[in-house]
Amino acid sequence: MTMKTLFLTTATLIAGTAGMAAAQQTVGFSQIGSESGWRAAETTLTRQQAEERGINLQFSDAQQRQENQIAAIRSFVAQGVDAILLAPVVATGWDSVLEEAAEAEIPVILLDRRVDSAEDLYMTAVGSDLVHEGEVAGDWLVGEVGDEECRVVELEGTTGSSPAIDRATGFRNALEGHDNIEIVRSQTGDFTRSGGKEVMESFLQAEGGGQDICALYAHNDDMALGAIQAINEAGLNPGEDILIVSIDAVPDIFQAMADGDANATVELTPNMAGPAFDALEAYWADGTEPEKFIQTDSTLYTQSDDPMAEYEARKDLGY
């Protein structure tokens, strides 16, 4: 009796999934959590993208725990989803669960962060090139100041974190060969507004009340927003007396650009799911295997890019 029920249930289930798969693809998404506004925006955009493409998205929030992510992937495999999106919380320890997915022939796409597993265990990784982001910011500054002398201060991210290291490297790459631009002070603001404000105050004190500073490069927008307040309170005009370029493109920096307080930002797009779904759709259509790394665009936005419209477009994404 029990056996019979089990068989029947299984049969119904299999029939059910098969029927659904024909109509609609199901994709499981294991998200890290919602530790930052950017992460929340990524979740919102992934849901939006899935809805637009008619994909059934199974969402799982891991609340910063790898064991939750592994459990989520196992349950996706058990459900027999058509693909899995994974934003891994850490880089290590994914081999066995990725093998399980590979055995079930479910393609896995990594979002935003990478893992140290063998490349054949996942289909592709979608992410931003952090060094390139720094280069875009640096190139903008090089173009903006031309041949004039320019003393730059830098607000670094959390000391030792990979975004801080890569964004510093990229910026320096772009400045190479432009001896008129010099980074005179560099200090960590811990990626926070208050950190950016406090450190900027000390930069202003140390550099002749800010008269000797021509530009500020901040590793993220939040620090730039804090620094803008410090510059304002020192009686200078941010965006004019001191040029400001930062990275991330959060909504508030567009507001600052619309007010003329900030000059440029480089977008770290939260739309990682778009390229991932593109790759999946190509794969489903004719089996095209994508490259192992899909780099998202690092778009530069300046005051001439209608910052108010960009602000309106972003403010409801959950930043």
Binding site: S36, T159, R193, Q229, A234, D252, G318
Partner: protein
């Protein structure tokens, strides 16, 4: 009364002077103060302004530590009160409502901690750890996980405004410290707090309502944390639930310890704790001004704090006397070393004397 207070805070004052001298050596313009647009501007002014959150927390923390407790939740309470303030302004209640609700939230947090410690009897470090970890979640619930920004000039005044040229945060911590210190010393309150800290049972038997006193002390700490939260939130014109006050409870405890207060409770000095907060902030600002690579920040801070604490250690005085007597004994052998000699008798150090 006054000379005793002065001699109590003398080591901290000297330490502060030494740190200021050190920073001035690295950054010569440290003590320069200019008047720009009717407000004082300069690195030293930044120190008294930036030091506000830790100084405010240290005032409350001093009282808690004097009762032999500890309040680990103050950094988180800053985040909660900041979130409450930003939310209130967003809801259109103006700066008055924001300040009132934020202070109320701080008092509520203190009441919670106080009840856990005094009524239920949980150890203070555990009781306040609960709010420390859970509180950031509460703050994130209020801000819905984003940085709640606002544009209320009146409320922003608490963070970046100035009163007669002096930054408002500096005025706030100075007033709070003076008020609390006077309240403690002009009334018997300070004595009662110390009594509870030294022996709660004995003071309860002597008629002190230790339970109410403990709750009141944690509420005072919550109130100070709320003020610090208001300052931090007004400063960046936004409530950052993830980062506001992060790890500041540790800086506040450090300030109290540098202030020469014993973690075992008992005698305390609010003035010395506040000086401790200023010492920490002078080190922080000095490091920023010196322009070292950021990898060195924490190492330099740790090294300086270590030197300060070692110099203040009561044992060091004893060791110093011991070493000196040893050297004297070596210089003039056998006959001079009598059992009544300075080395043979354990001597009380100035620090121990001060504690009595």
């Amino acid at each position: 009364m006054m000379p005793r207070t002065l001699s109590r805070i003398l080591p901290q004052a000297l330490t502060l002077l030494a740190v200021v001298a050190l920073v001035s050596a690295v950054f010569p313009g440290f003590l320069d103060v200019d008047l720009v647009n009717g407000r004082l501007v300069g690195p030293a002014v930044d120190v008294v302004k930036r030091g506000a959150p830790v100084a405010l927390l240290a005032v409350g923390m001093t009282l808690v530590i004097a009762t032999r407790g500890i309040d680990l939740s103050v950094g988180t309470v800053m985040a909660i009160t900041g979130a409450v303030a930003a939310w209130t302004i967003g809801a259109g209640w103006g700066w008055g409502g924001a300040v009132a609700l934020a202070l109320a939230a701080g008092l509520a947090a203190g009441l919670w901690n106080g009840c856990l410690v005094a009524v239920i009897g949980i150890q203070p470090i555990v009781a306040t750890l609960i709010l420390m970890t859970a509180g950031r979640g509460i703050a994130q619930l209020i801000t819905e996980g984003r940085i709640l920004t606002f544009n209320d000039a009146a409320f922003a005044w608490f963070g970046s405004g100035s009163l007669l040229g002096v930054p408002v945060p500096a005025v706030l911590w100075l007033l709070t410290a003076i008020l609390v210190a006077q309240l403690m010393r002009r009334t018997a309150l300070g004595l009662l707090v110390e009594a509870v800290g030294i022996n709660r049972r004995a003071s309860a038997l002597a008629g002190v309502n230790a339970r109410v006193l403990l709750i009141a002390v944690y509420m005072a700490s919550g109130l100070c944390a709320a003020l610090a939260g208001i300052v931090a939130t007004a400063d960046i014109r936004g409530a950052d639930a993830n980062n506001a006050g992060l790890w500041l409870e540790l800086d506040a405890i450090l300030a109290v310890v540098i202030g020469g207060n014993s973690l075992m409770g008992g005698r305390f000095s609010v003035a010395a704790s506040v000086l401790g907060a200023l010492i920490i902030q002078t080190i922080d600002t000095g490091i920023l001004l010196a322009g070292f690579p950021s990898e060195y920040n924490l190492v330099i801070k740790a090294a300086l704090v270590l030197v300060i604490l070692v110099l203040q250690s009561p044992n060091l005085g004893a060791h110093w006397h011991f070493l000196r007597s040893q050297m004297r004994r070596r210089a003039e052998p056998a006959p001079a070393a009598s059992p009544q000699g300075p080395g043979a008798q354990p001597r009380t150090t100035p620090a121990e004397e001060a504690r009595r």
